[in-house]
Symmetry: C2
Subunit: 212 residues, 2 copies
């Protein structure tokens, strides 16, 4: 089922990588749909021959780029989970730490939104999309377990929390992309996340009912 039965070597890996990085720029500048193989190759400093030796289509390259970006996002999340950072003291601080690990650049926003749109109309890709979302939710879970434990709370509804956070992340990312400079939007994002986390978690040993 591996789609790349290529006799991979060192050189190959390097140029593949350069192509992917160049594509990132081009996609951001032109949009995925409008980008051409030539533009990508020019940005990478290669000719089209190099491209077709490594990929069969822009779609394929796009898929690899997506995989890389997703992996890096997950890795950063797991760093937070494993990290020996100083303890957080409230939910808001926990949220802030997690948000710092997530990319907010407009490039990433475009990539995700165009990929999602692309995936929705390309049957096989919808699964990839769904799988990624689940992976993110699963990576998010231990992070919040750890951080919430530091402030004496535990998650009450994992699934709902995961879904909410992903939705909030996507939704606010769009707002940030449109108004990148706005501090207000950024602050509101923290507030929204905090609300969600507090709603779907509870103190470990609830002192009294009315303190809920």
């Amino acid at each position: 089922m591996s789609s790349t039965p290529k006799p991979v070597t060192r050189r190959r890996a390097q140029t593949r990588q350069r192509l992917v990085e160049a594509a990132r720029e081009v996609f951001a500048r032109e949009g995925f749909g409008r980008s051409t193989v030539e533009q990508v190759c020019e940005a990478a400093g290669f000719t089209r021959g190099a491209f077709y030796s490594n990929f069969t289509s822009l779609d394929e390259l796009f898929l690899e780029m997506w995989a890389q970006e997703s992996a890096s996002l997950l890795a950063r999340l797991q760093d937070v989970a494993a990290g020996g950072a100083p303890k957080v003291k409230d939910v808001r601080a926990a949220v802030e730490r997690v948000l710092e690990a997530l990319p907010v650049d407009t490039d990433w926003f475009q990539i995700t939104s165009e990929f999602t749109a692309h995936a929705v109309r390309t049957p096989g890709l919808a699964q990839v999309m769904a799988a990624r979302e689940q992976a993110i939710q699963e990576a998010l879970a231990p992070v919040f377990d750890l951080l919430l434990a530091q402030v004496g709370r535990r998650v009450t509804n994992r699934v709902a929390l995961g879904r909410s956070l992903v939705a909030a992340y996507d939704g606010t990312l769009a707002q940030l992309a449109v108004e990148p400079a706005s501090k207000a939007v950024r602050r509101h994002r923290v507030e929204l996340f905090t609300l969600l986390v507090e709603h779907y978690s509870e103190p470990v040993r609830p002192r009294r009912r009315f303190l809920l």
Copy 2:
């Protein structure tokens, strides 16, 4: 500043409209970036001559389509606000009524996400985008004022509520597009909206503290 100094007539308006509707299909099928003038014309039953007589580029058509879709969404919201529908009896019912007025189809999802991505990299369009978001938030306000009044509540933080709802709408729209069949996602959407509305509103005459 009007970009269409065209001697508009009846015929013109009709073919423009058909072109826009055809483009909607084509964009959904191919994606905006991948669509060509020819494809749109073929779907509309016109030749390219007709197209260039009405628009100077696909971008321009896209903009008009966006304007129409946005207007129709706003109109539906205002219908809900003005409507003589039976009163809602709790926040959840209010949320359900509002969500019914909002489009959830994948076509709409693609249009919005591609437009947003497009707007982000096209300087002038970011303003259009921001303006639309504000318009939606402003249209949303009276709707919730009315519905919340029916259940004896009032909004405490308009701006935050508006931003949250738009973010939640966008975020869950993506989830619905990826998993259109999922009842769970749909239910979660209602839950999320309800949570936000309850958090950013309060009972009009709070009976007792502990009932909060």
